[in-house]
């Protein structure tokens, strides 16, 4: 697998950061991006198996040189334990999306078929809509959104990407 196998475009980076689980840390991490005019495409924060440590997974796009700067500054933050560009390792990444689709009776069989192929799960049904939950990598999410588009997507909510390295290696044990 190539070095950037997980980065669909060359300038897209998935960065995982282990930080102290404390107020203000996220603001400090985010400010490193805003100070350089960089948008965060997706951001996912949650506590880890160690309750004092949170894992931030964020996706951003940009010039490799600037991202290297951001990575170094992330490492410098006093309450950062570990930083990793997930694109530099063999990793598995997932995102969950909730999609609310216009679903008049006539269209439902076809919609259900698509959901089935993508191993989605219907989580809510009303007279006019269906809400479906789909988990997958960026490509899969993109594909189902494309297929459902013609029926009329009323609303979506995405969790943002999370990622783990494959195999026994963990971020905590990985070298910066």
């Amino acid at each position: 697998m190539s070095r950037n196998a997980n980065n669909t475009k060359d300038d897209t980076h998935t960065i995982a950061v282990l930080v102290e689980n404390k107020f203000g840390v996220l603001a400090k991490v985010a400010s490193l991006f805003s100070a350089r005019g960089y948008n965060i495409d997706s951001l996912c924060v949650g506590v880890t198996q160690d309750p004092s440590v949170s894992r931030i997974t964020l996706v951003t796009r940009g010039d490799a040189k600037v991202l290297e700067q951001i990575r170094k500054h992330l490492s410098k933050l006093i309450d950062t334990f570990k930083v990793m560009d997930m694109g530099e390792t063999d990793s598995v990444e997932r995102e969950m999306i909730l999609i609310k689709i216009s679903a008049p009776k006539a269209a439902r069989p076809e919609i259900f078929q698509i959901i089935d192929v993508f191993r989605g799960r219907v989580v809510d049904v009303s007279t006019d809509t269906i809400t479906v939950e789909v988990t997958g990598d960026e490509g899969k999410i993109h594909a189902i959104l494309n297929l459902l588009q013609p029926f009329g997507i009323k609303e979506i909510a995405r969790t943002g990407k999370v990622a783990l390295t494959r195999g026994a290696k963990t971020l905590k044990g990985a070298k910066n």
Partner: protein
């Protein structure tokens, strides 16, 4: 023993060896100030919080020690922001302690509330908001450690009023445990990088050293002198590196970049090996990066990984403390043969000296020359920001490190007077001269009251051209002499203002009185303001226009006659 939050913090500050505090009290910090009365270190009451921050900054640059800056919440704390940003840019340690509204009031737009934690994130090395009295011991220790180790910098502790008066059991401890990873301030010596650099030095024909603030902060001046002399490699000092190498040494090439010496910039353009020791390749040094040191292998020693490869691609990166790296270099140094190169840069020094003309008006460079003469380079020299700062950097020949206090990265006008007061507190036995511009001086001149109150005998030389001189220079050169809002035709009488503050003030209008007035100031037992009405249209030369390469440097108009 049971103590309140304020008492605990002061115990910790004392234990850490804090010797100096600057600040102004207000509502949300009063309990802490009440306890400060019993602290065994002095507190200097300033007139503006920015002044307090710059005083602590000047104090730290000269003493190498960290001071605390104390302000109240809201406006007291927001007034600090410029001072913090200035210290952050120049890697100067200081510990700010700001009062905050009580924890149950935070976020309610309470009186004098500001999100100081949020405001200070980008202008500090690190910051804390204390929400529990039991965090104080750890946070205070951590704050001082973070400020003073690795690449130093300012830190801020936001201290809510209710926590200041909450009691808890306090146990002084030898070492407070830190849940955080061990500090990474002194990376292991990169022997591989050092070997590469040694080989490059041996191979080089035209090597040059550029020494930055890292030389001064790591205490590497002696090692640098040994290295440069043994190798016979000339030394350039950046603005913040001045004093890191003796200004009178034949190997010294002065300052590089926008207002650097011609010979420093020539050397950068022609060298085949650039050894950067603790400088961060600031844009004012490099000019256009694509034409920076075009022929050179670039080695960069820095304590901060984030500085390496930031702006200039480095062939030999060495992460480490400059002093340690220099010691290792000195041990194994095998210099090459640089005789031809020596001849080249010696000729440049001779043929392109710094100069200014002599027309009967008071030339700002002349005043600086005279200050240099009467102090014999043994004073401490402080500046504001602008033309006067560049002239001071060019014309003063520093004998030792930590005798030059100037705002480099942020370029903070108004830095001078408070920084000079802080410097004098740090080294009372030294003559402290502030070389300032009228624009810079006016921004913080209120601290003359502090100099008068505490009888801090700083000597102020205002090079008063009634312009924002550097703006005026750029307008003359790049905006076809459209002097948009850079002129202060109704400048106040700074001599009289000084007298109003209880400070000796002298206006000097005649060039023949320059020397006398400087001597009078030097002998006066107390602070003095000398207001020199200098030539209004003097420009700083040489100059590399903003965005241009160092090879596009403009020398002073060659037709002008040099001062004999």
């Amino acid at each position: 023993m049971e103590l309140n939050g304020s008492q605990i913090m002061i115990e910790e500050l004392k234990a850490a060896g804090i010797e100096m505090a600057f600040g102004i009290p207000g509502g949300a910090i009063m309990p802490f100030y009440d306890e400060l009365l019993k602290a065994d270190f002095p507190h200097i009451l300033t007139r503006h919080e920015q002044g307090a921050a710059h005083m602590a900054d000047g104090y730290a640059r000269v003493s190498g020690k960290v001071a605390i800056v104390v302000t109240t919440s809201g406006p007291g704390a927001t007034n600090l922001i410029t001072g913090l940003a200035n210290a952050q840019m120049d890697s100067v340690p200081l510990v700010a302690i700001t009062g905050q509204v009580a924890t149950n009031m935070i976020g309610t737009d309470a009186f004098q509330e500001a999100d100081v934690y949020g405001c200070s994130i980008p202008v500090t090395k690190f910051n804390w908001l204390i929400k529990d009295v039991n965090e104080i011991q750890h946070v205070t220790r951590e704050a001082i450690r973070v400020a003073t180790t690795g690449r130093p910098g300012p830190v801020l502790i936001d201290f809510p009023k209710d926590i200041q008066i909450t009691n808890t059991v306090y146990t002084p401890r030898e070492s407070a445990e830190s849940p955080l990873p061990a500090p990474r301030e002194y990376p292991e010596l990169d022997t591989e990088g050092i070997d590469k650099l040694l080989a490059a030095i041996e191979r080089a024909e035209r090597p040059v050293i550029i020494g930055g603030a890292g030389i001064i902060k790591s205490g590497a001046s002696a090692e640098l002198a040994k290295f440069a002399k043994a190798a016979g490699i000339p030394v350039i000092n950046t603005l913040l590196g001045l004093g890191g190498f003796p200004g009178t040494n034949e190997l010294f090439l002065g300052m590089p970049g926008m207002h650097g010496t011609a010979y420093a910039n020539f050397a950068l353009c022609e060298c085949d090996l650039l050894i950067n020791l603790g400088a961060r390749f600031d844009d004012r040094v490099t000019g256009k990066v694509s034409s920076f040191c075009p022929k050179a292998t670039i080695a960069h020693v820095d304590i901060d990984d984030a500085e390496i490869d930031k702006r200039v691609h480095t062939h030999i990166p060495i992460l480490g403390n400059v002093r340690d790296v220099l010691s290792a270099l000195n041990e194994h140094l095998r210099p090459g043969d640089y005789d031809e190169w020596r001849q080249t840069w010696t000729d440049w020094k001779e043929n392109y000296p710094l100069q200014y003309d002599w027309d009967g008006s008071i030339k700002p460079q002349y005043v600086i020359d005279q200050i240099q003469e009467i102090t014999e380079g043994n004073g401490i020299y402080v500046t504001g920001v602008g033309q006067h700062q560049m002239w001071a950097a060019q014309f003063i020949r520093f004998n030792e490190p930590k005798t030059w206090v100037t705002s480099g990265g942020l370029g903070t006008m108004g830095f001078g007077l408070p920084a000079a007061i802080g410097a004098k507190f740090a080294r009372p036995e030294k003559d402290v001269w502030l070389i300032d511009g009228d624009g810079s001086f006016a921004m913080t001149l209120v601290e003359l009251a502090t100099a008068a109150t505490y009888n801090v005998p700083v000597k102020v030389a205002i090079l008063n051209n009634a312009y924002l001189g550097m703006v005026r220079q750029w307008q003359e050169l790049f905006f076809e002499k459209r002097y948009s809002h850079s002129h202060y035709p109704e400048n106040p009488d700074f001599g009289t203002i000084a007298e109003g503050y209880g400070v000796k003030g002298i206006n000097v209008t005649d060039v023949n009185e320059v020397r006398n007035s400087l001597e009078t100031a030097a002998e006066h037992d107390g602070p003095v303001v000398l207001n020199f009405l200098v030539n209004k249209e003097e420009n700083v030369w040489p100059m590399v226009p903003a965005g241009a390469g160092n090879d596009e440097m403009q020398l002073a108009p060659p037709s002008r006659e040099a001062k004999s």
